[in-house]
């Protein structure tokens, strides 16, 4: 059973992602009740938030693999951490785009500095784009692996620190009590829909991660092979 799963993991993951995505889409568009205040556009919540959470999961995963590389000297963790950052940046950009659309719906502008999560993702986007610059401008080898790992680890620490910083910056401009974004509580059906959408996004993310990681490993193997043959 376990060997079968290992060999066909990608198939299982991809099918699960497909089923969950279609179910989530149906639930979000047809079944979940319409939000009293925001109307149909509130349903963008069912993509924006799962995408953002997935990005956080990837950044966390990248930091975990970076930690493994540094602590356990697990050499394979370098590519895993790199892939996680790569996917995290893709989902981070999607968060920025969907969040921007949501801002347009809610406030009529494409960008607002009062939306904490958007600002945080902008900072993270800058931070992790520099990760790519660092990787591309350093010679491949053990030192690059460790340097990238240290930087990825910094990202996981910067995340909560930046979140705190954004809250503090808001309070400087608006000394009034903090604007609470949670709004009205979700109903049970809304929450269930959200959970399905989140599960769908996470399985999709896991599938893409596997594909990307395999691709990067194949690249590395090909380079080794080429070196042996020439």
């Amino acid at each position: 059973m376990s060997t079968w799963l290992r060999n066909n993991g990608a198939v299982v993951l991809a099918s699960a992602a497909a089923v969950l995505l279609v179910t989530g889409l149906g639930l979000a568009l047809l079944w979940a009740p319409e939000d009293a205040d925001q109307g149909p556009s509130q349903r963008i919540f069912y993509i924006h938030v799962p995408v953002a959470l997935t990005a956080y999961v990837f950044f966390g995963w990248a930091a975990w693999k970076a930690f493994r590389l540094l602590w356990k000297r697990d050499d394979r963790a370098d590519l895993e951490s790199y892939t996680a950052v790569h996917m995290g940046v893709i989902f981070g950009v999607l968060t920025l785009v969907t969040g921007s659309i949501w801002a347009k719906i809610s406030w009529g502008v494409w960008w607002t500095w009062s939306e904490r999560q958007l600002v945080l993702f902008l900072i993270l986007f800058l931070f992790y784009s520099a990760y790519f610059m660092l990787r591309y401008s350093t010679e491949p080898g053990p030192r690059r692996a460790r340097t990238s790992a240290v930087y990825a680890l910094f990202g996981a620490v910067l995340l909560p620190v930046s979140f705190l910083a954004i809250r503090l910056a808001e309070q400087l401009l608006h000394p009034a009590p903090l604007f609470n974004r949670d709004g009205p509580q979700m109903s049970a059906s809304m929450f269930l829909t959200f959970c399905v959408c989140l599960a769908a996004m996470l399985t999709l993310a896991a599938t893409l991660y596997r594909i990307e990681l395999t691709g990067k490993r194949v690249d590395a193997r090909l380079r080794e092979l080429r070196e042996h043959l020439t």
Partner: protein, 213 residues
């Protein structure tokens, strides 16, 4: 333990001596920060608020710090002297600590000129501002030195360092500007101290990984 601090002292003394001989970094920082303050006068509308002036001061300080950080490992990179330090039996984190201390000293020196100039040109300097600058210096020196060592191994290192550093400096700017302007500067100073603590420990622990194989 005393051996560790003896190493740090010897290395920091060397960094200050190198700067004293070459005078490459600190004069450039002084000129830059004063120049930036003058340029900002022309960039700001005539009756800008003190809020704008404070924000501008912090931008000037941040970019001045970048000058020091870009230069921080130049002496070690020329002729790969860093190899000599890595061969020595001292703890590698001592190299980081010594370099951070010297960067901190350069920053403090530049600010000893920048803050009076700011008071002269714009707004009076408060104790909160001085405390904020001192705390931000710790964070800049700690994180910046680690990133400087990372960038030193890369191509296009002078370009890379600001890219690596700016996202990490955003919380410092928030804390610094908050400490300068807010009604209750204590929480912003506290935030800066928290940042310093977290990132100093992290940088101290990870320096060895970025300079060795």
């Amino acid at each position: 333990m005393s051996g560790y601090f003896a190493d740090v002292t010897a290395l920091a003394r060397k960094d200050l001596l190198v700067e004293l001989r070459s005078r490459d970094t600190v004069p450039a920082m002084l000129l830059f920060v004063v120049g930036a303050l003058v340029v900002f006068h022309f960039a700001l509308p005539e009756d800008s608020s003190r809020l704008a002036a404070a924000g501008m001061l912090w931008i000037a300080l941040l970019f001045t710090a970048l000058l020091a950080l870009v230069r921080s490992f130049v002496a070690e990179r020329e002729g790969t002297v860093i190899d000599g330090l890595l061969l020595a039996p001292c703890d590698r984190s001592a190299i980081w600590l010594a370099k951070s201390l010297s960067v901190f000293a350069f920053l403090a020196f530049a600010e000893a000129v920048a803050l009076p100039a700011f008071a002269l040109f714009y707004e009076p300097v408060t104790w909160e501002l001085i405390a904020g600058v001192a705390l931000a210096n710790v964070g800049i020196a700690a994180v910046g030195t680690l990133l400087g060592a990372m960038a030193a191994a890369a191509r296009a290192r002078e370009l890379l360092l600001p890219l690596l550093f700016l996202p990490l400096a955003i919380p410092l700017i928030v804390g610094g500007v908050g400490a300068t302007l807010a009604e209750d500067p204590a929480r912003y100073l506290g935030f800066l101290a928290l940042y310093d603590l977290i990132f100093a420990i992290l940088s101290w622990a990870s320096f060895e990984y970025v300079v060795t194989e």
